[in-house]
């Protein structure tokens, strides 16, 4: 009986392997986005509603390099990270910093910033959808033979690159002076400043890192979906769900939250069927993927508002 359970579980995983594989890819994108959001939340102390549109900035920067200039998307990816980081830092200097940390004003202003980003992109590139000029749509042969699921080279690149970036961020946070300063500032800004940490510089570093990761996530989002001006704004709710699930302001929480929410987002058809099997509840399809993330977020707010990893402890 007991040893049958894992077998059933493995069978269940294998039979839904394709959904899990694409869930892994989507989770990677959400992780990249939600880390930046969590960094701003931890150190800047406000939820930035412009973060989704910051990802759109990254996606369109890569369009310029890859489609308009005709260079390889890998170059576009690097340029997108740099440009998005610069845009994030510039926005902070120009718009957010003059508000001197008044959280509610910052929150409302960030919506204005989100609209401004999207409007400018819309004006520059038009409302029509675009896609990158890169191959990698076919499944990888040996993965299909071994695991029986289709993983595209695109998907594999997204997952592996995210792993590298997340590991790099982990090393920076734990083993460098900058990382220690960032964690100290997230924990208690006043105390950090008294101990001689230049919190303004830490804030700048935070915007650069968060922006770069958003740019990377934006390019990957553009690889998986069609690129349009609403690209980033439409997953903002999903990003917030990931950050709240992990615990506001916690970078490691955002990684975990991003993984769970990304999976749930892609597994929506399965969740919908499971919910439909319960009497009185309706079944639903993938059109409700954002709704699933939202419901998880509300449940977390009811049960454990501090999130899984809780509070601003590990930044």
């Amino acid at each position: 009986m007991v040893d049958q359970l894992p077998a059933a579980f493995v069978e269940w995983i294998v039979s839904n392997g394709q959904l899990f594989a694409s869930g892994l890819v989507f989770s990677s994108i959400i992780i990249l986005g939600s880390i930046g959001l969590a960094l701003v939340y931890a150190i800047g102390d406000f939820p930035s509603f412009a973060h989704g549109d910051l990802m759109t900035v990254g996606a369109y920067t890569a369009v310029v390099v890859n489609v308009i200039l005709g260079l390889h998307l890998a170059i576009g990816f690097v340029v997108a990270m740099v440009v998005t980081a610069a845009v994030a830092l510039g926005t902070d200097k120009l718009v957010f910093r003059p508000l001197e940390g008044r959280a509610i004003e910052l929150l409302i202003t960030s919506i204005g910033v989100a609209f401004a980003y999207r409007a400018l992109i819309h004006m520059g590139f038009g409302p029509s959808s675009r896609s990158y000029d890169v191959g990698g749509r076919g499944g990888i042969e040996w993965i299909r033979e071994t695991f029986g699921v289709t993983v595209t080279p695109r998907g594999a690149t997204i997952v592996l690159t995210t792993l590298v970036l997340v590991t790099a961020l982990h090393l920076v946070l734990q083993y460098t002076t900058l990382g220690r300063m960032m964690r100290a500032t997230a924990e208690n800004k006043e105390l950090a400043r008294i101990s001689g940490i230049r919190t303004q510089r830490v804030l700048a570093a935070m915007w650069l890192i968060g922006g770069a990761l958003a740019g990377a996530g934006g390019v990957f989002l553009g690889l998986e979906l069609v690129i349009r001006p609403r690209l980033g704004f439409s997953i903002l709710v999903v990003l917030f769900a990931a950050v709240i699930l992990g615990g506001i302001g916690s970078v490691y929480g955002a990684m975990l939250g991003g993984f769970v929410i990304g999976m749930a987002h892609e597994l929506t058809p399965m969740i919908g069927a499971a919910v439909g099997a319960v009497p009185l509840l309706p079944a639903f399809g993938s059109e409700y993927d954002a709704a699933v993330a939202f419901v998880i977020m509300i449940l977390i707010l009811i049960v454990k508002p501090t999130g899984i990893i809780g509070g601003k402890t590990s930044a």
Binding site: L107, G112, H122, M123, Y288, I298
Partner: protein, 387 residues
């Protein structure tokens, strides 16, 4: 009493802000008047001057009433209680769709009920959903409500778009009856129809205009009364410092919930009116940007002030209608730039939000004496008069 001395006595008791706003209103009204008068002149001479027709003004005001209701509703939440509600358009849409589905001839349910049923159900539904959103979030920091309401707004849009059996989906719902042609308001028809004919406007629009302005006025009076009541004072304390209110023994959670639900209900009423005014609803109308038009109106007018909400609401309507009206004009100047109108409006709203919060967070007409009990104000004025 001459006109000048009468004007003087009106201005005497006013604050600087009030004088400035009065001057602005007077200036704006005179511009409108000139543009209206220019209408026949242009028609006769064919001069290339901008004009305004009376029927355009009437239809604009009939829509403006809806914006004023929404602004008053958000002012209760943000202005009175400091609650960040990013789902204004969702509660508006709940009201509009409830009205549309219960009364519309094109509704998939084919109920064609009286509009009053729609109003009652819209109010109840908005109150229940507002309560459900407030339940987990109002205990927490203000930003949780902002995040949850932004998500809620998107979910409502997705549900209305996808649940065709319930809402007719992307096709939209039409054929709602007009409000004023139905009992108990139909008695106004003999009075209003000749006026509409005289002004050369659609009779239905004139009816709706009178109805929505009366409705807005009643809501305005109600909210003004609430503002100076003990209830309003508790909310102001919560907005200023929630811990103080809690230390004074006030159940801040419950007060915030009441303000939130009241605001949501007013928004739903605005949507219900819209459904019967435009008489066609599609899910595309639930664009989140509309929420932020209302935000701009509230902050620009002066958070916490009902008069400010009215001024801000009108300003936003003028900006919106102005960009629509002079779109051709802008196109003819900037013909070398193909600017998408939707993108331009998005940029305008974005920049307005950023600039107003930065440059004038207190708004055009911040609440000042509105917080004082009117009788106390008169008493003080009387004492000063004796001295």
């Amino acid at each position: 009493m001459s006109l000048e001395s009468r004007l003087r006595s009106t201005l005497a008791g006013r604050t600087e802000e009030e004088k400035r706003v009065l001057a602005l209103i007077a200036g704006f009204l005179s511009i409108v008047l000139v543009l209206v008068v220019l209408g026949p002149v242009v028609a006769l001479t064919g001069l290339p001057l901008p004009t305004l027709s009376i029927s355009f003004i009437i239809s604009t005001l009939a829509i403006a009433g809806m914006y004023l209701l929404l602004t008053l509703g958000l002012n209760v939440q943000w202005g009175y209680a400091g609650l960040v509600n990013f789902s204004v358009v969702a509660f508006w849409g709940i009201g509009a769709y409830t009205g549309a589905l219960l009364t519309g001839a094109g509704s998939p349910h084919e109920l064609e009920l009286h509009p009053l049923y729609g109003l009652v159900v819209a109010i109840v539904l908005a109150a229940v959903l507002g309560f459900a959103i407030g339940l987990p979030t109002l205990r927490l920091r203000a930003d949780y409500l902002a995040i949850a309401t932004l998500g809620f707004s998107e979910i409502i849009r997705i549900i209305i778009l996808n649940e065709e059996w319930l809402t007719a989906g992307g096709l939209g719902v039409g054929g709602m009856p007009t409000l004023v042609s139905t009992w108990p308001l139909s008695f106004t028809t003999p009075v209003l129809d000749p006026i509409a004919d005289l002004l050369g406007a659609q009779t239905r629009t004139v009816h709706d205009l009178v109805f929505v302005m009366l409705l807005t006025f009643v809501v305005f009076l109600l909210l003004r009364r609430l503002q100076v009541s003990p209830w309003g004072r508790v909310l102001r304390t919560i907005r200023g410092d929630e811990d103080v209110a809690a230390a004074l023994g006030k159940n801040t959670y419950w007060y915030k919930m009441q303000a939130f639900v009241l605001g949501c209900v007013i928004m739903a009423i605005a949507g219900w009116y819209y459904a019967h005014h435009v008489r066609f609803m599609t899910p595309a109308e639930l664009d989140p940007i509309d929420t932020f038009y209302i935000w701009v109106a509230v902050i620009l007018g002066g958070s916490g002030s009902n008069r400010g909400a009215i001024i801000g609401g009108f300003t936003v309507v003028i900006i919106l209608q102005g960009t629509r009206l002079y779109n051709d004009f802008i196109d003819s100047i900037l013909f070398f730039l193909t600017i998408d109108e939707a993108a331009l409006r998005l940029l305008l709203v974005g920049l307005l939000v950023i600039l107003v919060v930065r440059l004038r967070p207190e708004g055009i007409l911040p609440p000042q004496r509105e917080h004082i009990w009117p009788a106390a104000l008169r008493e003080r004025a009387g004492e000063e008069g004796e001295q």
